[in-house]
Point group: D2
Chain length 339, copies 4
């Protein structure tokens, strides 16, 4: 089969022929219909420090996808060929303390699709049945792969408890943009998106932000204070991982407010502890999705929210370089590839 | 009256004669029976950067105290001469958004006794009736002033939700030590105190720590991992404000665990964001005491917990230099002064 | 001044001349601009068992109002003649355990305007300054009195935590109707209103219910199961106090769901304990409004939600009999009187 | 093998020979070492209405047990012959909405050991591997079966959030008695046990109750008010299911307090709705154990709490009639049978 692979320990990816996999016990073979590119895929392409420490070539990458079940391995129940599915990316062990206490998304033995095992930028993928999700049959093929990153945003917004609150989102990547739509639907009083890309801020506005702030042009702290009538924002969703955004987030958030930490950083953040203490700020780390609570919530939300404006590019897998290029240049929001 | 005062904008304090104050409308005059020295008082003594920016001499300092009501100003109800009282240090306005939504301890117009108005290291003090607390008549005079810092620890431990949990406390100051006793009484599975002073760690053990770790002699992260069977501690109470402690706290806390931020730092903390995100850690800033919920809880706890081992020194106000000296040299835990 | 009064211990009310009151210390005199009729006023009019046990004639009734400050008593700060105000109906003592722990709405010494002291169906009313609320200047005079019952609904909906949830509201009185609008604005996935009056159900639909169910025509349990895809509703707001509604609520709510108890009943409810236990249902009693958290939330919500369809009748105070009559016959939702 | 069975649809049980079962795929065969009698077993013995509607003879009953793994079926990982195990009684499906959202103890397709399939009052039992729990090797054989009912109490006490609280427990059955020990260990300010059997109240006191109240001799409401200084108890654990206890619970609990509903009743409870509403009481239904969070908590607690006083009787399986008899006459707390 055709597959997009990190074949060697260096920059770039290669479109190659790979052997079509077969499902083992408890596994399922899925014919991939569409798969979208995630920031993680960009790190692997670039072969940055994180990628070098984590990825063992040869590896087919890609983890946001949808497809049709082709074959079911031994011992699998409740799944049948023809089912229209996506998958939770985080393969939990089911036996560790975290898995057995309802927090499988923090599994101590986590394996990640397209990182620790072959991924979805290929004609076929094999995944354990336990991470399969049966898609709403109405969900378009170019939207279904986005359930995974949209689910990140759902999980983050739920932890922010936005109902009736003034919400600021730092970071205009896809997940920040999705968070605008979700916060609005879940009853935020106001949603203000802070970012750096006029194009992406515009998509954020079309998806639900009341106002957008270009952090290269205005002072987000002053603007958020003004917009919130001086009190500061009730919750911040920090989705950029930038030290500057953290500085601004802690100065923008109201007394007793909450900051959801989602964006990652490869450096330490110089962190203003005293503001956290004196203002009794809560900081809540959020990763992945609740398995499968977030998927049910995602299904409900995508039945109402049209995120197609975030799908800025759709390409055959063969044109993957064009898609990766647009993302590296921040010209795209989400790129969907068709194998 | 006799009063311990910052008379000039320089290091040190002066024991002087001051005019005995009179209670205005809504105020109460209290004859001070005992007052204890807080870390804040050390900052004011030293005249460090924070003190220089906040304190306007001449000022009588001191805010942890108990005494007897001597006179009641106009419009005060429910308080009478002879009442045995202490006071919440944080004078809230009662009219701002935070006060009107049940969070007066985060008042936007907060004034602090002994910082923004005359304090308790004197024969008499005037305080607004609204911050008075009627002490349990059984509470010894040398313990009643400690309700204020003990209350800090109560508020912090309550936010840590310690029941059944493995708890690490970083910081062997008085509040860290009190937190040991409180966490134990509120049902922690285990309480481990991390500090630097063998003397204070010993007091912590006598008050309820299961184990103490001298961070200058052992690696707290390795020890806490070992003590918790590899899983890490469920909650950390960070009461030191040290960058090293923060580093260790984030590496010691379990997946999905909580860190209560109480200790202050005048520098930025180089903060490991990725650990917060990947491990879904919650960080909860805590300051002061809930007004007056924490005082009720403090009353309940002090009816059972004997914190007298933490009162290492009791001196007449005239010997204040000896008390401050012992605290600067970390030879004392709490010093109580008698005017 | 003109005043609507329960003059004698019997059915009915009398429009009489009363002495214009003067504000004492801590009090404020308000010239009433508008006042709306509450269900409590109907009980007092009818002189039912509850009214007989609680009300001591002569008493001016009415507690939902707005007006202009006319005169300020001694010791009042932050209020001035001309201010456009309403008031929290529950006069809390400020000194009991509940008041001092942030739950003044459960004050142990509560006095209620128009029940325990003279009310607002008059040209003037005196209220303690501490319960005054400064209205948004944009808020219409016929809406401002409704902040009080609307606030009941806000408090109840907040306790229901409706974001993303399927919500059923039992009871088509004004508060059930307001709850539809609030639940929708705070992000409910769906809002289903169950009631008995086609007229009121229609108002509920115009204010935000997705579907309405006439409990005299259909089986609400079957319908709610169907609408929720078999799973049951995530939360019920029980605002009727009827035994039949409680029976249906417990059979409609999902496993692990929540029922907010707001409606009152003068009889015992035959309650299906086993369903509560086996399905781990949470039942949450809700009364009044959080003082003043709910008022801030109400201000935010009324800046966006138009509840004027619920004001079905506006009358001069002289025509009070017409207004009470319509409410007794359930022909009106809210009736606003102008003194 | 020897097995205690409901052979026919009538009162009583029969000790018979049964075929030793074999483990199917995903199952495990356990040699039973000890098994304790639960209230459910008494219902099945008596053949009451519930039993007649639920139990299909022939059925081996019993579900609280421990034993040694004898044989492992196909596809089972992480379990080996010789393991010392007990089991979660509730066999969850793993595929329904509740299971997939972290609430397997509320599974929509629940099967119960000893109720819906053969149980543990036999020499051998087959259980699905997914419900197995590996016991602490130090845990005595006569205590290990009690993890299941003790776990009920753990789950209930955790939901009560007892740290620093005044706690009343209604019901002096084994689970009420265990709850005394757990509430004490998890930091309750005070634990008061209300019951009817002097013998059982005494066991409750030996396990941690501060005071016990014989509801046939004193008025629990008056006593609980007195013990709590007039304020009422902060939380009630209702573990009796009796209408009288519910009446007393709602009148004993403080403003804003919580009642955990655990005890079952075959009749409707005449329920005082207005008290729930006016006092903003929370009622929280609790069933089973969190799978497996409660089991970890149970392990931690039983490493410290000695519940052997609750094991009042230990008998060979052959003497089952003696054990059941003592329980029917309320002369025993827990009876352990050895096959």
């Amino acid at each position: 089969m055709k597959a997009l692979m990190k074949t060697e320990a260096k920059e770039g990816l290669e479109l190659t022929e790979a052997e079509t996999p077969r499902p083992g016990p408890g596994e399922v073979l899925v014919k991939v219909k569409a798969a979208s590119i995630c920031g993680t895929d960009l790190h692997i392409y670039s072969w940055d420090e994180w990628a070098r420490s984590r990825i063992a070539p040869p590896l087919i990458i890609g983890h946001e996808f949808c497809g049709q079940v082709e074959e079911v391995g031994p011992g699998v129940e409740g799944v049948a060929p023809g089912d229209y599915v996506s998958a939770e990316t985080h393969i939990y062990c089911g036996r560790c303390y975290m898995c057995r206490t309802g927090r499988a998304h923090l599994c101590e033995e986590m394996k990640i699709i397209g990182v620790d095992r072959h991924g979805a930028f290929a004609e076929y993928i094999v995944v354990p049945a336990k991470v399969l999700w049966k898609n709403d049959p109405e969900l378009p093929v170019n939207i279904a792969p986005l359930q995974e990153p949209f689910g990140n945003a759902v999980h983050a917004v739920k932890r922010a408890e936005v109902g009736g609150k003034r919400v600021a989102i730092f970071g205009d990547g896809p997940i920040g943009i999705f968070a605008c739509a979700i916060a609005r639907r879940l009853g935020a009083k106001a949603v203000w998106l802070v970012g750096l890309s006029p194009r992406r801020l515009e998509v954020g506005k079309s998806l639900g932000a009341d106002e957008t702030l270009d952090a290269s042009a205005v002072d987000p702290v002053a603007e958020l204070r003004r917009l919130s009538g001086g009190r500061g924002v009730d919750v911040v969703l920090e989705m950029s991982g930038s030290p500057k955004a953290w500085e601004e987030a802690l100065r923008s958030v109201a007394l007793g407010g909450r900051v959801v930490a989602f964006g990652l950083s490869h450096e330490r953040i110089p962190w203003d502890l005293n503001t956290v203490v004196f203002n009794e700020i809560e900081i809540v780390g959020v990763v992945g999705r609740l398995i499968f609570e977030t998927w049910y919530e995602t299904r409900d939300l995508l039945a109402e929210i049209d995120i197609s404006p975030a799908v800025t590019d759709e390409l055959p897998l063969d044109d993957f370089e064009a898609g990766f290029g647009k993302l590296f240049r921040r010209e795209a929001v989400k790129v969907v590839l068709y194998p």
